[in-house]
Symmetry: C2
Subunit: 314 residues, 2 copies
């Protein structure tokens, strides 16, 4: 794999760090990588990133394209004057930042792919990871925040803006008095299941919680409800759950997934008839990313390849 | 419009009635239509429908294709041995019914399009109605039950099965003790907002409720939450709300939409920055179907046209 793919540049643009790579795919096909702190000076960071790409291109040959999988919200509308911008983020220094523009100016004529971090990760998992061969699937990250991207009928989900899957309203489990930790919505999915929500409920960080702490039970039950919502709305063939929360500290990743799957089945309550939602199919329906923490940067490589293909096709 | 489109057959297959049409589009382009009670004998009904099409074809010329927009759940996977079947419905006589097969045998070689009733309605509204020119939108019907279909990046939503948007979990409004009316999920969207849910909450049919009945307030507030969920997960450019509940009896359709839009904005709480979600854009974001109660049968015409185009293209 990968030998047929040209060498491209990739940027996983996160709120904490930018992970950059040069290569044609995951693993051995990733020729070089580097990290840069996101900071609050986008112009300086973009200059550093561009200089790094230029240096790597001297070693590995000219880049055929660049892909960017970015934190958001971002503008994905090619007809918009702010296409390729990070738009309304509260992150200091980054509101209204043109990410694609500096790359276009530094590499004139080079195809540049741009999408959300989670759509990028979805694309990476679709090409090389847990969603290979599937046309309809979802990638969610559950960490400091919650976000989701996905592919429907073979295309990344865009629309009015792009999905913001972490913020839909959630039910109340009987007896649960926790009001949620989302500053904007309280008890949305992110307000119940992101890392800060677990800590706020338990009164201490998730890593310190014993395996029998009730916070794990709330977490996995609410995860079941959230994945049921995604299943009803989008009818995916698979849901990939990435991000740090799935590692679930002393509870462990295997138990997190086992409980989340069990609660998902309980919420669906047999309404959708599919072997994928029964034992043992459910174990392949809700899965961790195969690319692990490289899903995002590999997704950026895939975005670059798609931009190149589009440029050649068009 | 429509003169470039050939004459096709269309079936809106509902749980109560089958609405059939022959034509090339809505309005004057619909040359003939008929209704048949769905009943519990699918073989007999399909014979009647086929005989009707054969009769109309003698008047209007041979049909170029047939489209079916069906109640479900249905099998949409072309590689499945039960493609074109209604699968696990509780409706008497209809479980495991092959809908496409009898049409194929009666009209050998004719392209036949098949999808869910709500995907069909979405397609109809996309071609001739409230979603013209949009690549990303949702059609939901809120009536005896709730269902939703939609288009993402220009393609109808399929997947593991197909969306079942009526059944995702819902939040609890402060002080609401109503347990919901869905036999399978209790307080899912359908269990809170479908016609039977309104009647169960109020203790009498929706038509009898005064405009200031608290049931209308609950209905529109829960509609706001449900449409927020769809907005977060799919990022549509428009949500079309069809079905009988939107007419809202003594409250009235205009007031139903005004309140639903207001509550949607309150739930979103400004998180997604888009003029479409602010005043006055929101009035074009949540809208009734332009084709009214003909969205489904017009959608079946559009499914037939798409099946014909696919057959010619392939």
């Amino acid at each position: 794999m990968g030998t047929a793919n040209p060498i491209v540049g990739a940027i996983e643009a996160g709120g904490t760090k930018f992970v950059c790579a040069v290569g044609s795919g995951p693993g051995r096909d990733m020729r070089a990588r580097a990290q840069f702190a996101t900071g609050d000076d986008p112009a300086r960071l973009m200059r550093e990133v561009i200089a790094w790409f230029e240096g790597e291109a001297r070693t590995h040959g000219p880049l055929a394209a660049i892909g960017v999988a970015s934190f958001g919200p971002v503008d994905l509308d090619p007809r918009s004057p702010t296409y390729g911008f990070i738009t309304t983020t509260p992150k200091r220094g980054w509101r209204g930042t043109d990410v694609v523009g500096p790359l276009r100016r530094a590499f004139p004529g080079l195809p540049i792919g741009f999408d959300t971090d989670v759509n990028g990760a979805a694309l990476g998992e679709g090409r090389w990871g847990a969603a290979r061969g599937l046309d309809d699937f979802i990638y969610v990250t559950v960490g400091t925040g919650i976000g989701g991207g996905g592919v429907a009928r073979g295309k990344l989900l865009h629309g009015l803006v792009h999905p913001e899957m972490g913020h839909f309203p959630m039910p109340v489990l009987d007896g649960d008095a926790f009001r949620g930790s989302c500053a904007i919505h309280g008890r949305c999915w992110e307000g119940l299941c992101a890392g800060p929500a677990i800590a706020a409920r338990a009164g201490r960080p998730a890593e310190e919680l014993a395996p029998d702490d009730p916070a794990w039970d709330y977490l996995t039950r609410y995860m079941g409800h959230a994945l049921a919502t995604l299943t009803y709305v989008l009818s995916p063939r698979r849901i990939i759950v990435g991000g740090s929360v799935r590692k679930a500290g002393q509870l462990g990743e295997a138990e997190f997934f086992a409980r989340t799957r069990r609660h998902l089945r309980a919420v669906l309550n047999g309404y959708i008839a599919s072997p994928a939602l029964e034992e043992p199919g459910i174990d392949r329906f809700v899965v961790p990313p195969e690319l692990g923490d490289d899903a995002g940067v590999c997704g950026a490589i895939a975005l670059a390849h798609d931009a190149l293909a589009a440029a050649r096709g068009g």
